[in-house]
Symmetry: C2
Subunit: 198 residues, 2 copies
């Protein structure tokens, strides 16, 4: 929140190494650098960065864990278990932590599905994990900014959520769901991936 702090902070991947952090907020950092243009002049370029997000596709039997969630400044939305990875560099550990806190479920069968590194002006990496054969081991420990109810849905219901405006997930995941809907073979591959071949 202090524009003068950490002027020597190192920019994340996706932002030129010579960029300077000109603002550091609660979530977002703002970075600027002098960019040489095609005509030899320079201009101040700007990008922003924020902590990575982890998203978890957790399965219980033949169902998928979905959250119904409200936050203090937002109406009801649906989401995968997910959160801001701001407590360690270990994204799998962050995924396990958020998943347990929000749902009370654990798994012994985690895999990294994919990571998305947006290439635009907002540096916000997403990491998707799959947690198979989850079991409920505790009561969710929600913080004061969360109200979450866990539901179990089928894979067909998940694919239908691509048309649900209240489904709160990165836009690329909506495209993933649409691609699965359009290709029966890919859909079956994905079903085996998240349910472990069952």
């Amino acid at each position: 929140m202090n524009a003068d702090k950490d002027k020597n902070a190192k920019p994340p991947a996706g932002i030129p190494s010579q960029a300077r952090r000109v603002f550091s907020g609660v979530i977002y950092d703002v970075w600027q650098w002098e960019q040489e243009m095609y005509d030899g002049t320079t201009a101040t370029f700007e990008k922003i960065s924020r902590p990575d997000t982890v998203e978890i596709i957790g399965t219980v039997g033949d169902k998928i864990i979905l959250e119904e969630q409200t936050q203090p400044d937002r109406d009801l939305c649906l989401s995968l278990p997910s959160g801001r990875a701001d407590q360690s560099e270990d994204m799998l550990a962050e995924a396990k932590r958020e998943f347990l806190e929000e749902t009370g479920y654990e798994s012994d069968d985690w895999l990294h599905w994919k990571s998305i590194y947006p290439t635009g002006k907002v540096i916000h990496p997403w990491h998707f994990y799959i947690a198979r054969d989850c079991r409920l081991t505790s009561v969710p420990s929600l913080d004061s900014g969360e109200k979450i109810t866990v539901k179990l849905i089928t894979m067909d219901e998940l694919l239908t959520l691509a048309d649900e405006p209240r489904f709160w997930v990165g836009a690329q995941f909506i495209s993933d769901l649409l691609r699965l809907r359009a290709d029966e073979r890919k859909k079956e591959e994905f079903r085996r991936l998240i349910f472990g071949g069952k």
Copy 2:
């Protein structure tokens, strides 16, 4: 760029009216407010905003205008004619300006296709316009941060771009293309929309 300027600036739609602008950059503004939590405590919440983007689907005969573009800090990408709407409040006027500057084309048959207002922490509205029956009237006037080549592609080629990682467009438009690919009726409706019933 001065953290102290315009503390009384009014936040855009999507950010609570009591939010204060704590940073104003070249593109991005950062807004913060004290949010009451579910347990009665408060926490500092943060969102960012930036100027709207206009995107243009321009057609020439039975073809669609596509740009091949490089920028000083980016490799080759493909895009629709588009730009930052930072010169007026009139989005159609901004679309016409960007379209003419980048492509040299004009149209007498513009329509607003849709606007997207992201509901997350990054307030960045997108406005899509359709420009039918375009005609080349001038040489593009590119600024020192643009190298653009205009190409004409078919609608099927546009739909294929949903699989092209270098296609530089809002992720929601990729979902739009996937939905058109999955529904022959919607695809024909869209074809009539952008080509004017031909």
